[in-house]
Amino acid sequence: MKKYLKLAIIISLVSAGGIHIVRRLAPDEDKQREQAALKRLFPQVQSFTEKTGQPPCYEGYIINDQAQKELKGLCFLTTDVAPEVKGYAGPIKLMLGMDTKGILTGIEIIKHHETPSYVWGIEEPWFKEQFKGKSVYDAFRLGEDIDGISRATVTVSAIAEGVRKSAVRIGRERLGLEIAETEENPWLSVDYLPLIYLSGLLGMALASLLLKTQSWRIVSLGTAIVLVGFYHTDPLSSVNLINILTYRLPGLARNPFWYILAGFAILSCLLWGRVYCGFICPFGAVLELLEIVKAYRLKLSQRLEQRAKYIKYIILWLIVVAALVLNNANVGDYEPFSALFTQAGNWLDWSLLALAIGGSLFIPRFFCRYLCGVGLGLGLISKYSLKQLEIKENCRKCQNCKSACPYGAIEVQPGGALNINPVECIQCHICLNNCPQGNIGR
């Protein structure tokens, strides 16, 4: 194991160094995008100043008929003017163009860390075009004068709020316009119904965990598919994991659903283990419910199975290192569940989804066991959980639990003793129900 760890560290350092050099040699992308955006927002402007003043703006000038320099408009970044507005994964850097009367000439997206498979629509021309011609006196409210994008509500709300706040501030402070105060309590616009549903789901999951009832667990998984999967389309992903590591989080009032879900997942890991995977994850639920089909079950050699589990370590290592070096969590956006729950994706996403589903007909939770970065991340936290599921000392080593465990989480130690691997165990309690001596507990 030490040999592999050394190798991983060496490869990490070499690849990080290589990517760092490539990035240093490349020109500043944000600056390039800003320059291109300036021209698109004010194609008729002959010259722009550097960013000046407070709040900082690019000033665009033309030479008028009297051969004099005339201010045509201002361009500014939402991250400079309203940095407190955050999307799903931190601030969304937009450039706005505004003429001297407070009319927007358009918006351009400079940089964001939102998950591309959910928010591809924000870069569509129709989406950006709807801001063109709006005035600083407009509401910029989702569902009123701004059309949303389904399953990207958090991001679109953040864009609308960022545009409104920065346009109003620039209008007041740089153009001297009188604009009435329209600050709102963000908690008033929160949709509380999904939060109530989620609380019910988490309560049901906790009850089935503590009462050790399989039927409740199945109901919990079914509810998770509907609520977390198709209704809210907000399951935890590797991108979330990286965003948590890099502290790139949404505003609390913007997405309380995510905070409750992620908080529950981490807290339950610290207390019991991967409760999220076993009771809440909608994709795991879909794969697990496929077992109803009872297709042919592959009988794998233990050595091969144990080695295959290390693939997810390599994937997680790769995406975390790449995300940290590139400062972009979206490199970890590989899970096929966005294709399933949003019904949108390219051929690669659909192929991986088909393989994950097909594989699960022959190996229970095929994707979770060998490829899921979130599951591994939560599993690594579960190594330190307070109340781990354990096989007690007076075990008779009948291995009934090992045969019953559908996820290969029970390992035979040298000497024949059995051990539940907390990284792999999803707390389904199937082993517990199959131990004739009742030797498994916390």
């Binding site: 009988k299 091969l304 979206n330 490199v331 970890g332 956006d333 690669l348 393989l355 994707f367 060998y370």
Partner: protein, 90 residues
């Protein structure tokens, strides 16, 4: 059938498993490498902003008239080369 992979003989089930897993790993690797490439070399903008009014004016100027079409389709190609309709103009 005997193959010497991982220094052990593989049964039929193991062989099927290795094939499926290898395919899945290749897909995951392909997706992640695509994400890394997109992050290193992001496109400046996803597609052109088309002013439909301007397009219609140019068509009028050129003297072209739609014969059977009821509307013009403004399209763009995505990264996979698929054609997607952005808007329609009568």
């Amino acid at each position: 059938m005997k193959l010497n992979i991982f220094k052990s003989d593989l049964k039929r089930d193991d062989l099927i498993f290795v094939a499926v897993l290898l395919l899945a790993v290749c897909l995951v690797g392909f997706i992640i490498s695509g994400n890394i490439y997109d992050s290193l070399y992001p496109p400046l903008f996803s597609g052109p902003v088309i002013d439909v009014e301007q397009v219609l004016k140019r068509i009028d100027k050129s003297g072209l008239k739609p014969v059977e079409a009821r509307y013009y389709r403004v399209i763009e190609r995505d990264r996979q080369g698929n054609i997607r309709e952005i808007s329609r103009a009568r």
